[in-house]
Symmetry: C2
Amino acid sequence: MSSNKAFKALADPTRREILGLLRKGEMTAGDLAERFAMTKPSMSHHFAVLKDADLVTSRRDGQQIWYGLNTTVVQDLMAWAMDLIGDNGLGAAKKRGGKERGGKEQ
Amino acid sequence: MSSNKAFKALADPTRREILGLLRKGEMTAGDLAERFAMTKPSMSHHFAVLKDADLVTSRRDGQQIWYGLNTTVVQDLMAWAMDLIGDNGLGAAKKRGGKERGGKEQ
DNA sequence: ATAATAATTAGGTATCTATCTAATTATACA
DNA sequence: TGTATAATTAGATAGATACCTAATTATTAT
């Protein structure tokens, strides 16, 4: 439910970048780590924070650990932001003229 | 554009609550402050962080300073979250209870 | 069992942050 | 001009955070 942990986890740019890399699918800790100019233990710390906030999933496969994006928490954050804005507020649409494709407005 | 400052500002629960109070319209620093169990200088600090992140507007009217929600930055955050998810997973976040359209078979 | 590889945990430190009290600035008004 | 009110700025501090190196755990292979 839009936890404080999730917001705190997102406050760090490295962690947001990690999430961005996971957008396309799972990656191992090592593959993720080597994309940053930071030691592996530091990266491991970031993984732990993301996991504690439930923003990522993880599973071991042999020697490797695969991390993946947990979209449900991100959706909760979006719901929070939407509630703040009031209505659809997404993009330029701004209600006006009505019915901008996409359907499914609750 | 989804600045680091905005994410850091949102990492604090007091500041998120302030934004929630501003959802309905502008409020003065004093009126906002008295809703929290915290000194006015501490609240002033939070206002400054929100303002620096462009999450709120402010204007002086006599002795008072009115703060208001700046929805455009919140919209940027929503766009960032949506990009992370890929599809426009809005419905799922809102309906809370449904399992429709989850995708992500894993 | 030993060695090699992948990843985390432990311990330390510099910096950042949220809070407080005290002092200051800005405005209004008698 | 004073004095009261609204709010911020200044300065201090406890706790959190993001790094690092060194040590440890888990797994695979020889």
